[in-house]
């Protein structure tokens, strides 16, 4: 079972990102589970969401304490939240940032095995006109983890957002997929 934890801020769509990733994996025939950390979400407040992906039915219902993958939708969270808490030793961290690998690593309490960086905010602003990074960051997740194909992410996005909005969000994911830089740490 692969466990993924999303860190975002209220309004950035971390919960939707977790749900879309689950749907993308479901499209590929996997068993999935996605859920928010059940806080009282307000715009701007730190938000956590989770996705589990497995080859067999998922029964466990606890929150995720030892994630395989951590996804950070908002770079400012690195200053205030221990995003790598409980990260597995061979874990992957994916960050939306314009900063360098060195600058990001310096902020992480635990060193991941693999670090993926993408400027999802700029991509979101260019494609959607809004700094909502949830769909763009999923392109980076597909690239860095190989858990799902980018095509499945695009399908799941278009399933979630209809019409032009779906097309634009799928484009944001595809662009992020192409622009994501991956570093072995």
């Amino acid at each position: 079972m692969i466990e993924i934890r999303f860190h975002g801020r209220g309004g950035q769509g971390a919960v939707t990102a977790a749900n879309i990733l689950a749907e993308a994996a479901f499209i590929e025939g996997k068993y999935v589970q996605a859920f928010p950390f059940f806080g009282v979400e307000r715009r701007g407040a730190p938000v956590t969401a989770f996705t589990r992906i497995d080859e067999k039915p998922i029964r466990i219902k606890t929150q995720i304490y030892e994630p395989d993958v951590v996804v950070v939708l908002d770079p400012s969270l690195l200053e205030t939240v221990d995003v790598t808490a409980g990260l597995k030793e061979d874990g992957i961290v994916i960050v939306n940032t314009e900063k360098s690998k060195e600058e990001v690593l310096e902020k992480l309490k635990r060193k991941p095995k693999k670090l993926a960086l993408v400027d999802a905010t700029t991509i979101a602003l260019e494609t959607l006109g809004l700094p909502i990074t949830n769909t763009a960051i999923l392109g980076a997740v597909a690239k860095a983890t190989g858990l799902v194909k980018i095509e499945s992410v695009e399908t799941a996005i278009k399933d979630t957002f209809s019409g032009e909005l779906g097309e634009k969000n799928a484009k944001a994911a595809r662009e992020a997929f192409e622009k994501t830089q991956i570093f072995e740490v």
């Binding site: 977790a18 749900n19 689950a22 749907e23 479901f26 068993y31 999935v32 589970q33 996605a34 859920f35 928010p36 059940f38 009282v40 998922i58 029964r59 466990i60 219902k61 606890t62 929150q63 304490y65």
Partner: protein
Amino acid sequence: MPIRTVMKANEAAAWAAKLAKPKVIAAFPITPSTLVPEKISEFVANGELDAEFIKVESEHSAISALVGASAAGVRTFTATASQGLALMHEVLFIAAGMRLPIVMAIGNRALSAPINIWNDWQDTISQRDTGWIQFYAENNQEALDLILLAYKVAEDERVLLPAMVGFDAFILTHTVEPVEIPDQEVVDEFLGEYEPKHAYLDPKRPITQGTLAFPAHYMEARYLVWEAMENARKVIDEAFAEFEKKFGRKYQKIEEYRTDDAEIIFVTMGSLAGTLKDWVDKKREEGYKVGAAKMTVYRPFPVEEIRELAKKTKVLAFIEKDISMGLYGAVFTDASAALINESEKPLMLDFIAGLGGRDVTFNQLDEALSIAKEALEKGKVEKPIHWIGLRKELL
């Protein structure tokens, strides 16, 4: 062909309602159940469900509107949670006493004070004496299936009682999981039309319902509700068997997991059963003789099934997200009553856990196991009730 997709339990409940084709839905929004009526109102607005959707000003009005609608002879549905269910309390007795097979979905949520929107079972457990049948779902598929089963059992002429289906707040209501939506034709075949013969309002055949009963009659009316709930045991088994034949998914009042040769069996309800099964696998690998059991039906209480389960183990431990102040958890108390006249019974323990949304982790289950193991080794229970995962530094 059934459709396999991903959705939240709230959506699964709305789909179940759509498939059951109720004629009247009345609801008032409350966290974490709001999405259920929201989705149903969408179905109605899109013409996908031919029903009257009544927007009311409170949960008390929602259930009252359904009492009226059901008494007029149609299938009805609503959803609520927590304070909303508590506000319905007096009308719940009326629905049962008038023998109205209303079905209601509950996103199981804690009660105030302190205000808390997260999961435990205090809301439905507190309604256990109202005469409503109670089911608890482990996952989103069960939420959908049990609502269909609730109609099947509630509307059976041997029962004619309302039924509620509980699924844990957020842990299920807001969690996306794979769900299979059954074929409409198969659901139609399974449920049929609701055609009440017992009592319904019809101008061509004037009757009075829910009227005053003097001491000469009241007690018999209450006895008949009790008897109907007793009848429901058999009807539930029949409904489960027919459901399995039609839809291929098996339900039991108590589902056992790795209970053969178990020395300690943990019993729970709802989504915690899923976590418990994974934990049992881990403990079995570590050499512990533990098993799990999930209660799918809480009212009528599965008395015979608890007796059979008790014969298999040395320690029977309950993990429950509710508490009856001044005694123990309700499930443990009821199970104790079920076993009272058995000549041999296991040691029994009650673990209160996960109140107000506290995550029930493997560590907490380990805590329960060490207490159960100590009882097993000593051959006696010194204290039957334990609160696990309690932050003692805050007390």
